[in-house]
């Protein structure tokens, strides 16, 4: 059993890596890019949701928002620890950006990132009230669910395991959002909800990236990604349709 194989062929055929010494240079770059996008997004999401705690109408909602704020930061820390194995200065990294900073509400960023801050563009927009926070949480929470299924298959096992641990808690965040949305709709908040849906829907959709992405092809070759952006986006749109439909929205 002495014959070996080019590591890229191995990865393309579904092989996985467990030790960072085996990671090829380009693989490393793409894996780091994916991890930093996740870490930055979670830190920005946590920072953004922190202010929503004070929008909460009651204790139950306050606890839900606090929990989301806490756990997003925890998830960022876990993935940042994997980056640390590759040499990232984790202490400096977490203070690189003002994670609570937001652009003006009516700015249109499309899918572009801001210099050096790899958060998904949706996390650059400000939340303007409790209903808005809940709607954003529902849409982005469902998107995260779709993304977690994809990320849990990443070919770098130490990272895949972190994502598998995180996934159920992220799913719970979306459930908390849906429970909150049900209460708002039950209390006659439909029109406010519709306005927030119109605002957040295209912004969350932009987070799935472009169709026929060349970067996706590179990442897929390494087993870092498995499902194209457009397929993930379609999955999310279907999920959103089902959940909103169930609430009569």
């Amino acid at each position: 059993m002495s014959d070996t194989m080019n590591i890229e062929d191995y990865l393309a055929q579904g092989g996985v890596l467990t030790a960072l010494g085996n990671v090829p240079a380009r693989y490393r770059g793409e894996l780091m890019r994916l991890m930093s996008s996740f870490v930055d997004s979670e830190l920005a999401a946590s920072a953004g949701f922190a202010s929503s705690i004070n929008f909460a109408p009651g204790i139950k909602e306050r606890i839900a928002a606090s929990r989301i704020t806490l756990e997003k930061a925890d998830h960022a820390e876990r993935v940042l620890a994997v980056m640390g194995d590759f040499g990232t200065d984790t202490r400096r990294y977490q203070s690189q950006h003002d994670w609570a900073a937001r652009v003006e509400r009516d700015t249109d960023l499309g899918a572009t990132r801001r210099e050096g801050d790899m958060r998904l563009s949706v996390f650059h927009y400000p939340i303007n009230g409790w209903t808005d926070a809940v709607v954003m949480k529902v849409l982005q929470g469902l998107a995260t669910g779709v993304q977690m299924d994809e990320l849990a298959r990443v070919s770098y096992t130490p990272l895949a395991e972190v994502f598998r641990e995180i996934a159920p808690r992220e799913a719970r965040h979306a459930e908390l959002g849906l429970e909150g949305l049900g209460r708002i709709v039950g209390n006659g908040g439909q029109s406010e909800v519709q306005a927030s849906l119109a605002y957040w829907r295209p912004r969350v959709a932009a987070g799935f990236g472009v169709a026929n992405s060349a970067r996706y092809d590179t990442q897929a070759r390494f087993g870092i990604r498995h499902t194209p952006n457009e397929t993930l986006l379609a999955r999310w749109e279907k999920l959103v349709g089902e959940h909103l439909g169930a609430l009569g929205l």
């Binding site: 059993m1 002495s2 014959d3 070996t4 194989m5 590591i7 062929d9 191995y10 055929q13 579904g14 092989g15 996985v16 890596l17 467990t18 030790a19 960072l20 010494g21 085996n22 090829p24 240079a25 380009r26 490393r28 770059g29 793409e30 780091m32 890019r33 930093s36 996008s37 930055d40 980056m83 640390g84 194995d85 590759f86 040499g87 990232t88 200065d89 400096r92 990294y93 690189q96 210099e115 050096g116 790899m118 298959r153 096992t157 130490p158 895949a160 395991e161 598998r164 060349a214 970067r215 590179t218």
Partner: protein
């Protein structure tokens, strides 16, 4: 950042003609740092003719063995493994980073699991650590090991595995598959391929009984075994892989360093990414290698742009660059020519870098 610490070689045991088992002892003050989880590995470093070499070897001891042991099989042309096999002696000091890697599942003393392991050649080392630990810490669990080797004389830990079978009677079984030695049962002769895997599942291992599988060996063998496990109903999170040491990158060659800044204002930069090479002119000041590559429509990886995360690491093959800030690369990486492209400005009128190495 992890750092290297001294370990004392307390025993060198010849395991086979071309493999040794080293027993290592950390200093008292480092002892806690070298506590390990079954299946982890140690990364060693040593200079050979002025070039620093790093090599990782799996720990073969169980967590309750009370010692730190690694198995090192000599690889043809491998400087480190040859040195370890031929020159290391008790009393020598060797440098290693604390244990790393995650080739294990959390232990549960109340669990009654059926684990299977597939190891080829020296791929046995981390699997042996898991076998010993699981059998001891989970008294109701059992382990089936499928172990492929070329011939009987090349089987590492053959006696130790026999002892374990006797110690954990009924809970541990080993199926030896030998490539070039006929055995009574045809199934156990030859190489592990898809047909052999199916036969194993038909006659020796009930796939439905398997809770988790560990695979360690060369890439093609791991792909074959993993695919067969999936075909027989195991989920990805039940299958653990550890790639063989042979897949590790070659030696990090030190580059000749000349710090002389060449006169002139512009630089001709050549950048390789994903096998494609582009050349362009860039200024000596005000623009980093990364920004210049991006400006030339190359999708070079980066994240923080502050010299902190190391996503943008590339290697300088020709010419000189200067990093404004480096919080991420270690000295040995810098000596080997790696730079953070988001912090690198050219010093020479020609610079050649690659993101592919």
């Amino acid at each position: 950042m992890a750092r290297f610490l001294p370990l004392k070689v307390t025993d060198v045991r010849r395991e086979t003609r071309d493999a040794v088992v080293l027993t290592l002892a950390p200093r008292d003050e480092d002892r806690a740092l070298f506590d390990f989880t079954q299946g982890q590995y140690l990364t060693f470093r040593r200079s050979f003719d002025g070039e620093e070499l790093r090599r990782s070897y799996s720990i073969c001891a169980g967590v309750d063995d009370g010692c730190l042991q690694v198995g090192i099989k000599r690889v043809d042309g491998g400087a480190f493994s040859t040195w370890a096999n031929e020159n290391l002696a008790p009393g020598d000091m060797i440098e290693a980073m604390p244990p790393m890697g995650k080739f294990s599942l959390p232990l549960d003393p109340n669990a009654a699991r059926h684990y299977v392991g597939f190891a080829a050649g020296s791929g046995i080392t981390p699997v042996l650590s898991i076998v010993k630990t699981v059998l001891r810490r989970e008294p109701k669990s059992r382990f089936t090991l499928v172990y492929a080797n070329r011939q009987i004389s090349s089987i590492m830990f053959r006696e130790e595995l026999e002892d374990l079978k006797n110690l954990y009677l009924g809970r541990f079984s080993v199926l030896h598959v030998l490539e070039s030695e006929a055995q009574e049962i045809d199934l156990f002769t030859g190489r592990i391929d898809a047909a052999k895997m199916t036969a194993l599942f038909d006659r020796w291992i009930d796939p439905k009984s398997v809770d988790a599988a560990f695979i360690c060996g060369p890439e093609p063998m791991m792909l074959t075994v993993a695919q067969s496990l999936r075909d027989h109903g195991l989920r990805d999170d039940q299958i653990r892989f550890e790639l063989f040491a042979s897949g590790q990158p070659g030696r990090a060659k030190a580059r000749p360093v000349s710090k002389a800044t060449e006169a002139g204002e512009g630089t001709q930069a050549t950048v390789t990414l994903d096998g494609a090479t582009r050349s362009f002119s860039m200024p000596r000041e005000g623009q980093t290698i990364l920004d210049a590559a991006i400006a030339s429509n190359m999708d070079a990886p980066y994240s923080c742009k502050a010299g902190v995360c190391s996503t943008c690491r590339c290697k300088v093959l020709e010419g000189e660059v200067e990093m404004a800030v480096n919080h991420a690369l270690e000295d040995y990486e810098v000596r080997a020519g790696y730079v953070l492209s988001c912090q690198s400005y050219p010093l020479t009128d020609r610079v050649v870098v690659t993101y592919d190495e």
